[in-house]
């Protein structure tokens, strides 16, 4: 590992996270929290997400119909007073199915993304920071995993572990963490040669602490952005895993399956596509506002433009 940085002397050392005592961790998050609350859009986004989570929790009590209650004579009906968002191809109330679908999709979206973030960030940070042979090895493992035929992976996992909800999160998180790891590694490689890292190192701080205290917080920006991209894509990927028999089981629905069913009837019953799509977009907008707000709030340099 090269020991000198050319930038060290040419660029004035700005303020890194200079404090080293343990209280910093707390105050960092506290500050961030206050900054977040000041950001109106972010607060709105957070509130919207919380509201959705709340609705999901109470769905069984507020849903107007059962998610599997069919009225075969009333298939693909237009939105009406009885069915606010219309009905699907088996005459089931779409509003109800959207509510129930939210329970699955929100859970899948957040949990699977969490899996991918935690694994991806830790893996990428270690690989990028240690560098050298280990980096090479770890990244080649990622290459191999990328190349594995995903369909087979899921099928085989299902043979050995059955159709298990935990398996669903693992399978969904699986493809996502690989890209996440590469993104974090890229950031870390670029960061680790920076002044404040050198400074921390010269102060004798352990590698793990450098990764935890200096590198990971500094990669949070791209990580949060990629995370907000991961949530919708795992929600939609879930529909693909349903194809392999791993996702949500009929007659339950998820947002992903509602959207893919909606596409098929786009011309006949546009509402069957529009409402799930609006719901997913709304969630994603909120998530983005929240994500951007979080990113700004967590920016260790507190930079504001």
């Amino acid at each position: 590992m090269s020991s000198t940085t050319t930038f060290m002397n040419t660029i004035p050392i700005a303020k890194p996270i200079e404090e080293d005592d343990d209280s910093v961790g707390n105050s960092l998050w506290k500050d961030a929290y206050h900054r977040l609350l000041k950001n109106k859009l972010a607060t709105f986004g957070g509130a919207f997400i919380l509201l959705e989570v709340f609705i999901c929790l109470i769905t069984p009590w507020i849903a107007p119909y059962g998610f599997d209650t069919q009225t075969l004579e009333l298939t693909l009906a237009k939105p009406s007073a009885a069915h606010w968002l219309g009905t699907d191809a088996l005459g089931r109330d779409l509003f109800t199915r959207l509510l129930y679908g939210g329970r699955i999709s929100m859970m899948v979206g957040f949990l699977a993304s969490m899996v991918s973030v935690i694994v991806g960030v830790v893996y990428g940070a270690i690989s990028g920071f240690i560098g050298g042979k280990l980096d090479n090895f770890m990244m080649r493992v990622v290459d191999v995993l990328f190349a594995l035929p995903f369909v087979f992976l899921v099928i085989i996992l299902m043979v050995y572990f059955g159709r298990n909800i935990i398996l669903l999160f693992i399978a969904l998180g699986f493809t996502q963490w690989l890209t996440m790891a590469r993104i974090v590694r890229g950031q870390v490689i670029s960061l680790k040669e920076k002044e404040f890292v050198e400074a921390a190192r010269s102060l004798g701080i352990s590698n793990w602490n450098i990764i935890k205290r200096h590198l990971i917080p500094n990669t949070l920006g791209p990580v949060i952005v990629y995370l907000t991209l991961t949530v919708p894509s795992v929600i939609l990927d879930e529909a693909f895993l349903s194809f392999l028999g791993l996702g949500v089981q009929a007659p339950m629905a998820s947002w992903g399956t509602l959207i893919s069913n909606g596409v098929e009837v786009m011309e006949i019953a546009p509402w069957a596509l529009i409402f799930p799509a609006i719901t997913l977009s709304g969630t994603l907008f909120s998530l983005n506002f929240l994500g951007d707000g979080l990113r700004d709030a967590l920016d260790p340099k507190g930079a504001k433009d």
Binding site: L72, G91, V151, G245, P251, N261, E264, E267
Partner: protein
């Protein structure tokens, strides 16, 4: 603007339209201007164009154009008509056929089609080295099975001899009443020996291909298109009207329908199920719906759990409203299946044992109570298995809801990817599983033999000696009326024991441009372009 600039703008606009290809896009199948060109969606990329490697409908439509069988079929009612054979005679015991081949039948390279070509082709499909999946279609020939399994090494023992270049003598293992319709199946098409010998696996490529059909292979690009042109060497080419045909492998039903609407194709393979109600109301005459030789049903595993009890199998059968399922779920003008074999198969009409509606629901409830589950109480958890496809999902969901409502039992639904699903069926690891059967030939045997104890397609665990005997008796009988008695006997046992839950008789629904003529509906959905022509579109 001056007149001149108007002209320039006009010319530019025309050029632009031309450049964008809008003009050609909007032209339907060309008829009037000399050349007749048709564009058909085949529905999928064919596995192969080797008739001995083919296994399904996606190859059938293509092979049927580039080969001519010994005995062909009438386009409307499918009765056997002369193909390469001009005439034939059957011996009294039904075990021997003598075919007279027409002398003007030619391969696409101009060489005559001879009796020896058929003998060669049949030996080839039976050769274990060819490893043909559909070799069993040739098993009615004497010693065919032995040759295929490797027990008989001497291929000359096969019950097919070329007496001379234009006389073919065929000996069968058993009298096989449907033998003539088998000859129209691609497995028994002739192939051109020299091409196979010279080019190996590549003999089906357009540059190496030699066929004897009304059309010749012009190009074949994987997943893109297959183009065929009228064959100049075909003996009856004066009667062939379509000059060129393009087959597309579009497997996305939605894309297919949109290509039809924008006049990129003239005949579709299917219609997206969601759009059936819309097309059924169509007044322009492009919607075609015809009977099809197939049954959509569910398998009931008789070896496991509560379904071991015939009373429960019967209760499940009586507690679904088939008419409603057809009307609101499958939606394609299908008829409810009141027996297993489709009515009219080979002239046989099965007894109508099952109800189309819920008229016998009380009986179902009683049967369930007798079996120890009054009003469904305490009924163990069973699952409906389907292979991933939207229409099967809907059907399973609807049936699940009907059982819940009518019998008070809770049934789960699971789906599996195609090969996993097949594996579950084979190993009997399911309770109720979605299934379908399309007849290989127009005879009840293709349906009924499946539920014989040792048949690989049984996959329900159903084993019944009396049933087996009835089917075997029908196979050995030549007289149709006597066979019908055996069929009915077998069918009756099947519907008493109910290892199946028939839902509906299949139907083919597709779109066909109005100027396409001669694409006659028939129960096996077999179409030879030789019968088809394009009418000049008015305007």
């Amino acid at each position: 603007m001056t007149r001149k600039s108007y002209l320039i703008v006009g010319a530019l606009a025309l050029a632009l339209v031309d450049l964008l290809g809008l003009y050609s896009l909007r032209t339907p199948a060309k008829a009037a201007a000399g050349k007749q060109v048709i564009r058909i969606n085949n529905g999928a990329e064919p596995k192969t164009l080797d008739p001995h490697g083919a296994t399904g409908v996606y190859e059938d439509l293509l092979l049927r154009q580039i080969y001519e069988p010994l005995v062909a079929r009438d386009a409307k009612d499918l009765h056997p008509i002369p193909g390469v054979a001009e005439s034939w005679k059957m011996s009294k015991d039904g075990k021997e056929y003598t075919f007279k081949l027409r002398t003007n039948a030619k391969w696409s390279n101009g060489e005559p089609v001879t009796a020896e070509d058929f003998v060669y082709a049949w030996k080839r499909i039976l050769d274990p080295k060819t490893a043909s999946e559909y070799a069993s279609m040739a098993y009615p020939l004497k010693n065919a099975k032995g040759i295929n399994t490797g027990e008989i090494k001497d291929f000359t023992k096969l019950g097919a001899k070329a007496v001379d270049a234009h006389t073919l003598k065929v000996t069968l293992e058993n009298p096989t009443p449907y033998f003539l319709s088998l000859l129209d199946h691609y497995s028994l098409y002739p192939v051109y020996k020299k091409s196979v010998d010279t080019h190996g696996d590549r003999w089906t490529r357009p540059e190496n291909f030699v066929g004897n059909g009304a059309y010749n292979l012009k190009s074949w690009e994987i997943n893109k298109s297959i183009v065929m042109v009228k064959s100049p060497t075909y003996w009856d080419n004066a009667a062939v009207k379509i000059d060129e045909a393009t087959f597309f492998p579009v497997d996305n039903l939605d894309t297919e329908e949109k290509m039809f609407r924008t006049k990129q194709i003239d005949v579709t393979r299917e219609i997206p199920p969601e759009k059936l109600p819309f097309w059924q109301k169509d007044k322009t005459g492009v919607f075609v719906s015809s009977d099809y030789l197939g049954t959509y049903y569910f398998r009931l595993n008789v070896t496991k759990g509560p379904l071991k009890d015939v009373r429960i199998r019967k209760a499940l059968n009586l507690a679904i409203d088939r008419e409603k399922l057809v009307k609101y779920v499958s939606r394609g003008n299908q008829n409810p299946a009141l027996a297993y074999t489709p009515p009219g198969t080979g002239g046989y009409n099965p007894p109508k044992v099952l109800p189309g509606d819920l008229s016998r629901l009380a009986e179902a409830k009683k049967l369930l109570a007798d079996a120890g589950f009054p009003a469904g109480k305490g009924f163990p958890k069973i699952e409906i298995l389907y292979n991933t496809q939207e229409i099967h999902k809907k059907m399973s969901e609807a049936i699940q809801a009907m059982w819940k409502e009518n019998l008070g039992i809770e049934v789960g639904i699971i789906n599996q990817e195609w090969k996993v699903y097949l594996n579950s069926m084979k190993t009997l690891s399911y309770d109720v599983a979605r299934a379908g059967w399309i007849g290989d030939y127009n005879d009840p045997n293709t349906f009924l033999e499946n539920f014989m104890t040792t048949n690989g397609n049984n996959m329900t665990g159903f084993a019944n000696k009396a049933y087996d005997n009835a089917v075997i008796a029908s196979q050995k009988e030549v007289n149709l009326e006597k066979r019908k008695v055996h069929f009915a006997e077998a069918e009756k046992i099947l519907l008493d024991e109910l290892p199946v839950l028939p839902v509906y008789i299949w139907r083919r629904n597709f779109l066909k441009a109005t100027n396409v003529q001669g694409w006659y509906p028939n129960i096996q959905d077999l179409h030879t372009l030789k019968d088809v022509w394009l009418e000049a579109t008015p305007g």
